[in-house]
Symmetry: D2
C-alpha cells in the first residue's frame, strides 16, 4: 500500500492511504477513481486489486531476511548485561532477543519465532512465572543452571534441549560460581500475532527443596526411558512431559545414523546428513504444539541439498564449522552462531572438510521451526532440489 | 519499543531503537546502560525486559479495535467500483476489504481475518485462479452469480454459505441482468503473517459447460444429504467437499433449536440463542482448516451473556436488528452491517424486541472466526460471564 | 484339533485332546511323542504345529458360510411369534436372529454380526433397557413403531435407518393398529467374543410424553441438517447422535449419484453402482464404533465386480430383484431377503434387467458390516477383481 | 441354547436346537410354541428370548476361567519337545500354547490372547514367514537367540520385550551352544474370531549377514533413544518400529518410580506399585495395534487393590514371588509362572514380604492384554476397588 496524494482531511482521520496508479491490471486513473479511493479511505476499506501482489504472491516471499548473529558478540553483550541489568520481577528474565533486520526492529528472529540468549549470574534466580507461550532452552556451552518446572529442578548442560510447554510454572537458578548463557526459543511472535497470550506471576522465591541439584529431573525419571511410559501418568497435556533431552542420547542417535549409513543401511536424511527430531514421548508428535526442534549432523566435507519449506527456522551451530547458504546469502559459521531462515528460502549447508585433529569434523546444527503450526493446519509444503554434487 | 534518543550513526544502520527509561522493573539508566543498548542496536538485539509488557500480557490485548462497517456504505462504494474498476486478470476480483482502524491501514478486519464485499456486474466473469488461502462466500442479499469451483457451478443466493478450501480452482460469473454483491471471508492475514501462501492463475475463460446454472451443484448432489457420505469419494482433502450450505437448511436448523427450547428440551446455546456451525461432512470438523463459520439466531428481545474468546471474529447481520456490544463499544445494527470482535474482548448482543409486523423479530448473525487455528494448537480459551438478566 | 486315542484318565480331566499324526511338517509318531502329547494335555498345552493351518491360514477362511434367509419365511414365523410370545421384561424383545448354519447353531449371522427380525403387535411396548452392544434398526416394510431413545421418540418407516449407539436407554412402542416388523443389527457376537458386554434394565413403562408420535425426532431436529452441527451439543459420545436417516434422503443421494454418472461426472463406485454410507455427522466416521451401514443401488441390468474384504457383512434386499453371488453360491433374491457374506469371500451382484412397468428397475441393497473394527485396528484389506463385463 | 426334544428329521438338517422351557420371562410351553421352535430350527433362526442371559449379561461373564501354568512344567515339556519335534517349514515354530481349560481345548489362553513357550535348540533356525497377527517375545530367562525382523538381527536376553507388528518378515536363530526358551504373545484368537488373518512363507534360510549377532539391532539404533525420532523415518506403519525394549531400561524406569514415591512424589500407580507400558515411540500409543504390554513391580510386602477391566490379560512372573488372586482363585507364584485373567474378574496381587538375601524382594510381573482393541472401539471400562489395607 502506497502512501501519498490524499486529501488532508482524510489523512487526519483514516489510517488507510490509497494511491491510484497507472499500471497493468489497475483501473484507469481518473478523478472518479480518485474520489472512489477517498471514499474507501473514509470508510476504512482497501481494494484487493491494489494489494493482491503483496498478500497473495505466487509463493511465500518472506518479510524477514536471512540473517546471522555471531555468538561471540551475543555472549559479550549478555555478559555486559549481567553486570548492568538485575534479574527480577517485572523484567523477569535477562534475555536478549534476535531482531530480524527487516521486521521493523521488533524482537522477532522470524515472523513467528523468538530466539534469545539468556544469561544468569552465579547464585542468581529468575523468578517463577507461567505463560501460554511455548518455550525451550538449548545449551551450546556451560552448565550450572537448573530450570525449575512445576517444582522439578532440571539441570542444564552443554547439548541439552529442555522444552517447557505453555502454562507450566517455571523459574531458573544458577547453583554455581560461574555465569551461564543459553538460548531460549519461544513462539512469542506467533502468539503475539494471533493474540492468544496469557501470563501469570508465580512465587517470588523457590523453596529449598527446589534448590536441590539432581543430575536427573523427576520428569526424566518418569519419561526418559526409551519406549516406556509410566502407567500412572495417564494422558499428559499438550507438549512433552519430558523436560530434558540429554546430549549423550542425541549425540549417540546421530552417530548411530551415520554408522548405519556407513554399513549400507537406511537411517540418514541424505548422504552424510543425520537428523533427529525431539518428540513428545506421550504422542510421538512434535515436542511442543507450535515448535519443532531437531539436531542435524552433517558429516565432514558434506553438502546438503537445498530445501525450501513453508515456515521459518532458526539454527544454532552446536559444533564444527562450515558454510551456510540461505537464498542468495552465504556465511561461514562456527560454534554458537545463530541464523534465521525465512519461509520458502532455499537452505543448504556445507560442512568443513575434516582435519585430523577433530574427533569427527562434523557440523552439528540445532534447529527449531514453526513446522507444527503448518502441519496442523495442512499448510506445509517442502521442495528439495537435486543434490548439486 | 520506544523510538528516541539514539546516536545518528546507529539510526542510519539499525531498525532497532532502544531507549533506557527510568521505571520500575527496568535497570538503572546510566551511561553504561546506554552504551549497552547501543551495542544491542548495532547487533540487532532487543532485550525482553523492555518488551515483556507488550509481548507477554496477562491476557490478550488486541492490536485491533472493535469496529463497525455499515452495509449501505459498502454497497454504495462497491456499486461505484462496479462502474469504474474492471474485473480481470491481475486485479482478479472486484473485492473491497475491511481495514481495522488500528492495524495500520492494512486490509485486515482483524489480525488474522480478511472480510470483503465482492461485486460482479451483469454478465461479468471473475477469472479462474487458485490459492492456498481458505475462503468462503456468504450472501446477505441478491442472487444470480455462480461460483465455479473445480468446474462445478454453484449457485449463490441469499443466506447461502459457500466454502472453498485452499488450492481449489475457482471463478465466478454473473448469469443475470443484475449486479450482485456478497461477502468474501479468507485467512489472508493469517497466511500473510505465517508466510504460507501460494497462488496460481487458471484458465482465462470458463467453458460453456460451466456456464450452465443448475440449482444444485455436483458437490451438493454428492455431499449434501444429511449423514450420508458417497462411498466413491474416499477421504477428501482438507476443507469441506460440500460447496454450498443453503439457507433453507440453516434457517430450519435454527428454528428447530428455538422450537425445542420452547418445548422444554435442550438445543440452544443459552436461552433464546440458537446457533449452528457449518461443518465438513467428511470429518464433522470446522468447514475450513483455519476458519470457523456459524449462524446465530437471537430471539426477539433476548440478550446474550458476554463471552470472551481467544481469537477474533467478524460478524455480519443477516436479518433483524439489535444492539451489539464489544468491549466498551456498542452499536445499533441492521441487515448487512459488519463488525469485528478482537481477541478476548467481551461480546454480547441484544435483539430488538419484536414488533408484530415481523415474522420472527429474531436477530440473525453470521459469524466467522479463526477458532480452528486456536483449537488445533491448543491455544483456545473461552470465558462466559453470568447472564446479566 | 482332532479328538481320539487318548488315555482315559486324561480324558476325564483335560479338555485338550491331541493326536499324533503321520503327515508332512509333523513330528514322527513315536511312543515318546505320544507321551509328550499326553503331557501337553495334562498341563493344558497345545502345540502350534498341530494347529497352524487352522489358526494362521494364507488368507481368511471363514468358519461361516454364505447363507440366504427368505423374508417371507421370516415374516411368517415372526407373525406366529407375535401370537405366541409376549414381549416383556426378561425376554425384552420379540427378536428372532439369523443363525449361520456353520456356527454351531448360535444366533450369529456371521462370526461378529447379529441380524434379527423384530416384531411388535399393535399397541405393544418393548420395555426400556440399555446395553453396550451397538445396534440399529432398518425398515424394509411397514411403519407405525416409534423407538424411544433417551426419551426421544423416533418414527420408523420403510427405508429408514435408525442407529442406536451402545449404552443409550431405549424402548419401542407400536402406536398403530397394525403389527410391524423390521430388522435389528447388532455387534452381539463381537462383544460376546471379546466379553465387553454390560446391560441394565430401565423403566418398565415409558411416559405419556414419550408416546407422542412426532414425524421428526429431536435428534433429527438437532443433527439432521446437512453439514450443520448444533453449537450447543459440544462433542457427543461414541456413535452417531442422529437417530434416524430417512429414506427420502438416502433415495435422493443414490439417484443423484446415478444421474451424475449419466451426465459424465464422478459419483458412483463403479459403472451403474451407487452407494452411500451412513455416517456420524459429528465426526464423519462410521455411524457406530463397531458397525458400518450402507445403502447400495445397482442400476437395472448391471453386474458389479467381485470384491473380497476382511470382515463380514449382512445384506438385505430393500427393493428390486437380481442375482447375488457369494463365493461359489448364487441366489435369486427379492425384497426383504437377507444373506450373509463371510470374510474374504468374493461378493458380486447382478440386478435384473429392467422392465417397463418399474420406475427404475434398480436393485437396492442395504448392507451392514464389521468394517470399523478392522479399520480401527488396521486389519482391513480389500481386493477388487476386474469387472467381468 | 439347550439341546433336546427335537424332531429327528430337523435334527438331521439343522444345527439349531431349541427347547421350550417353562421359566419366568419365557413364553408358555404349548404345542404351538413347540411347532414355532421347529419352524425356527428349520429356517436357521434363534429367538433372542432364549439367549439373552448368555449374550447380554449385566456385566462380562467370561467363558474363560482363571488358570495358572507352572513355568517348570512348561520348561520341561518344551525341552522334551526340543528332543522330539524338529523346527522347519510347515510346523514353523516349536511353540507350545496355553489352553484355557474352559475354552474347549483350543490353544487360547483367553478368548482373544495366545501365549506360548517357544524353544530353540543350539544352532537351530526357525524359518522366515510373516502374518497379520501381531506378536511379541518376552524373555524370562536365558539368552542366545536372535530374532531377525525385516533382516535386522535382534538379540534376546532376560527381561527383554521384543514386539513384532503384523506383516513383518521374521525368523529366529539360536547362535549359541545352549537351548533357549521364551514366551510368545500374539492376537491369534482375536484374529481367528474376526477372520482377518493372512500368512506368507519367506525365505527358507536367512543370509550370513543376518547371522551377525550385534548387541543392538538397527531398529534400536534408529528408534531406541529417549524422545528422539529419526527424521529420515517419516511415519512408520502400524505397530512399534522399535524391535527391542531392554531390561536395563525397564528395570531402571520401575526403580525410578518407586524411588520417586519414597521421596514423596507422584510416579507409582498406587502405593508400592510401579508400572511401565511398552509404547510405540512414533505415536506414544500401545506397542501393537491389538496388544498392550506392561511391566509391573510390586514392592516387597505390598498388596494391590483389586481391579476389574473389560478384556483379558496374561501375566508372567518375571522375578520375585507372591500371591495372586483372580476372582475367587488364589495362587502362590514364582519366577516364570503364567496365569490368565479373564474379562471383568477382579485381579490383585500380594508380593512376599522381603527377606534380607533378596536384592529387592519386589515381585516383577510382565503383563499383556487386549486393551487396545477395547480402547479403539470405546468398549473399555475399569473398576478399581478400595485398597483393602
Amino acid at each position: 500500500m502506497t502512501q501519498s496524494s490524499i486529501a488532508p482531511d482524510t489523512a487526519a482521520t483514516s489510517p488507510v492511504r490509497l494511491q491510484a496508479v497507472a499500471a497493468e491490471g489497475q483501473p484507469d486513473v481518473t478523478p472518479a477513481l480518485e474520489e472512489l479511493y477517498r471514499g474507501f479511505e473514509k470508510e476504512l476499506l482497501v481494494p484487493l486489486w491494489t494489494e493482491i501482489g503483496d498478500l497473495m504472491p505466487a509463493h511465500p516471499r518472506s518479510r524477514a531476511v536471512p540473517h546471522l548473529w555471531r555468538w561471540n558478540k551475543l555472549r559479550e553483550l549478555a555478559a555486559r548485561a549481567g553486570d548492568l541489568v538485575p534479574v527480577g520481577r517485572g523484567g523477569e528474565r535477562r534475555a536478549i532477543a534476535l531482531a530480524n533486520p527487516s521486521l521493523g526492529g521488533r524482537p522477532f528472529a522470524t515472523p513467528t519465532l523468538w530466539a534469545a540468549i539468556q544469561y544468569l549470574m552465579p547464585g542468581e534466580d529468575a523468578p517463577e512465572h507461567r505463560h501460554t507461550q511455548h518455550a525451550f532452552r538449548f545449551v551450546v556451552e556451560g552448565e550450572g543452571v537448573w530450570t525449575v518446572v512445576g517444582r522439578d529442578p532440571v539441570a542444564m548442560r552443554r547439548g541439552d534441549f529442555l522444552p517447557q510447554a505453555g502454562w507450566n510454572w517455571h523459574a531458573h537458578h544458577n547453583a554455581t560460581a560461574e555465569p551461564m548463557a543459553w538460548i531460549d526459543g519461544l513462539d512469542i511472535p506467533f502468539q503475539y500475532v494471533t493474540e492468544s497470550q496469557f501470563f501469570e506471576f508465580g512465587r517470588d522465591d523457590i523453596s529449598d527443596a527446589e534448590r536441590i541439584t539432581p543430575s536427573r529431573s523427576r520428569s526424566e525419571r518418569l519419561w526418559g526411558h526409551p519406549g516406556l511410559r509410566p502407567v500412572s501418568a495417564g494422558t499428559p497435556g499438550p507438549g512433552s512431559p519430558l523436560l530434558a533431552y540429554r546430549w549423550e542420547h542425541t549425540d549417540r542417535a546421530l552417530a548411530d545414523q551415520l554408522a548405519l549409513e556407513a554399513e549400507g543401511f537406511d537411517g540418514t536424511v541424505e548422504h552424510g546428513h543425520a537428523a533427529v527430531r525431539f518428540s513428545d514421548p506421550a504422542t510421538g508428535a512434535d515436542v511442543l504444539p507450535t515448535l519443532r526442534a531437531e539436531m542435524h549432523r552433517v558429516a565432514s566435507g558434506t553438502e546438503t541439498a537445498p530445501v525450501r519449506e513453508t515456515g521459518s527456522s532458526v539454527y544454532q551451530v552446536f559444533d564444527g564449522s562450515g558454510t551456510v547458504t540461505v537464498g542468495d546469502t552465504s556465511w561461514s559459521v562456527t560454534r554458537g552462531d545463530l541464523f534465521a531462515v525465512p519461509s520458502w528460502q532455499p537452505f543448504s549447508v556445507r560442512s568443513e572438510a575434516g582435519t585430523s585433529d577433530s574427533d569427527s569434523g562434523a557440523l552439528d546444527l540445532f534447529r527449531f521451526s514453526d513446522a507444527p503450526v503448518f502441519e496442523a493446519l495442512r499448510l506445509d509444503r517442502t521442495q528439495v532440489e537435486g543434490n548439486p554434487r
